[in-house]
Symmetry: C2
Subunit: 325 residues, 2 copies
């Protein structure tokens, strides 16, 4: 691989001039063309490791998410990527697998690689960011807030839970809730919405039907099985995220209770669904938009924005089932 010295020699200028050409500082027109020609001939690309070492920062941002196989997060990643690459930044996708240790490893890598910043969908409420924040690198929280005073983009989780539940309460009487892990805010907030919807309707929430599991298909499956085995099973269910929804609907199909036979509302879009849209109520979450906002906030911080930390709350869009039992 050619270096800046090779290019300089071929173009008959100093290495510094070559560097200037590639960094947009003032160089006379003729030298610019000479350098560009030489660079092209040698197939020169600036060595990023050297640049990063010198500048103490690289044009790379890390996006750390808990589940790369969840379409919700990949959609978010697309939003981040579009904004970042527009601004000349690359995005490194890191999969923490919902484990705090793996997450910490990736945060350390981000530091050690001098990445410019991090967008983090935290694995847990207790994620510790002291180390990375001490380096002065900006971190933006997405989807879930952290215990730290940093920028964040979340959505109206309580509302989402409430809207989903309200729709079901119009046509059903025993509405269950299957959420993610209890140590994750999005799970508990959405559950609160379920509670509030009952209260607002003047009903007592059936607390025996409030369940926490994992934000995954198998979580939805096992809890749905449990609920159906109850002496007094629910006649409808709110799924706390897209994958739980998939698992719950799978089990219902196996029991010949395909929605709307048993009512289903899902918080999050059903990825690649083959169901009729009229059968299930879906609270669409602005995943892509969330990624876009987070990337914008992070880039602003990288450019030196010093405002106090802000949290943006995005709204959801309900797509109600028309069919009922």
């Amino acid at each position: 691989m050619a270096t800046i010295y090779d290019v300089a020699k071929l173009a008959g200028v100093s290495p510094a001039t070559v560097s200037r050409v590639f960094n947009g500082t003032s160089v006379s027109a003729d030298k610019v063309t000479a350098v560009r020609a030489a660079a092209k001939e040698l197939n020169f690309t600036p060595n990023r490791a050297a640049r990063t070492l010198r500048r103490q920062s690289s044009e790379v941002i890390a996006l750390v998410i808990p589940d790369i196989e969840n379409p919700y997060f990949t959609e978010m990643a697309r939003g981040v990527e579009d904004v970042a690459s527009e601004a000349g930044y690359s995005v490194v996708l890191c999969n923490s697998d919902a484990q705090v240790e793996k997450e910490l490893t990736y945060l350390r890598i981000a530091m050690a690689e001098n990445m410019s910043g991090v967008i983090l969908a935290a694995a847990s409420d207790s994620t510790n960011l002291d180390e990375i924040l001490a380096t002065g690198r900006p971190v933006v929280a997405v989807d879930r807030s952290t215990g730290h005073d940093i920028d964040g983009v979340v959505m109206a989780n309580r509302d989402a839970g409430r809207q989903a539940t309200e729709h079901l309460l119009k046509s059903y009487r025993r509405v269950a809730y299957i959420g993610g892990p209890e140590h994750i805010e999005t799970a508990t907030d959405r559950a609160e919405g379920w509670l509030l919807a009952h209260r607002a309707a003047g009903l007592e929430a059936p607390l025996d039907l409030l369940r926490y599991s994992s934000f995954r298909v198998d979580g939805g499956r096992s809890v749905m099985e449990e609920l159906l085995a109850l002496p007094e099973p629910p006649d409808a269910v709110v799924a706390g995220n897209n994958l739980i929804g998939v698992g719950a609907i799978q089990v219902l199909t196996e029991h010949s209770l395909t929605p709307p036979e048993l009512g289903v509302a899902v918080i999050g879009s059903l990825p690649f669904t083959t169901l009729s849209p009229s059968a299930v109520t879906v609270v669409r979450l602005p995943a892509r938009h969330m990624g876009v906002m987070a990337a914008r906030m992070l880039l602003a911080r990288i450019r030196g924005d010093k405002q106090p930390a802000r949290t943006v709350v995005l709204r959801n869009e309900v797509q109600a089932a028309s069919a009922v039992r």
Copy 2:
């Protein structure tokens, strides 16, 4: 961020010794402990940019895929990641969006960052790897082969197409094929399987039902609509990949032709399906395994393996629908 010099000073040794401790070369036991203690106290992590610059290679591999929102590729990514991180390598996921230019950008970044190697699911048959191969960096092809003499992991695409079609021909008479773009080998190979299955059954393949589109949900949707609008529509369809399958089934559902009313076989697993497994024939593709194999081959090359290039062909597993019309 602490440097090797800070640690050296605190531990009362030279910077070289600190480096040795972190690289596993011979250092006396007492100094090792002193260095480790100092490193821990200062929260030291070796600066990767510096290490990379010096070593001319980083412990990072790039995985370039055409669609990060396709669960097939994220499953593959998990396989790659598991093997790589086991060996101390990080994986950078790059989304080429099926565009050759974006792909080239990422390949250039991989070179400029001195990454150790690349695993590539090429955006097109015509992807040019001359530049990166000239740097001596190993590249392994996955899912799709390239025109270059490099290692590869693919699956038995022709067989997959053939198996899917054979199953449908047992119960249906006019079997269509919806494939991906014609310039991608996996699409044409699977279509060939469709042809062969007809021939093997002593039938003439209905060439008016052979269609190429994109490997995406909307591709499956639009072609399925076209097929249904035909004067003599098909009574069954082979979907060339998972997303095409989703799109086709969506359209069928909307037309009240839910499988097995119209027969469906999908090459690839249906992601997050809520359908009964008995309704659709699925040719399961070994996505994760493919990622695992590719990562192993790449790591071997990175470690200096000089064998001639090999291509591994993985077999598929058919999960036949039991229900028919």
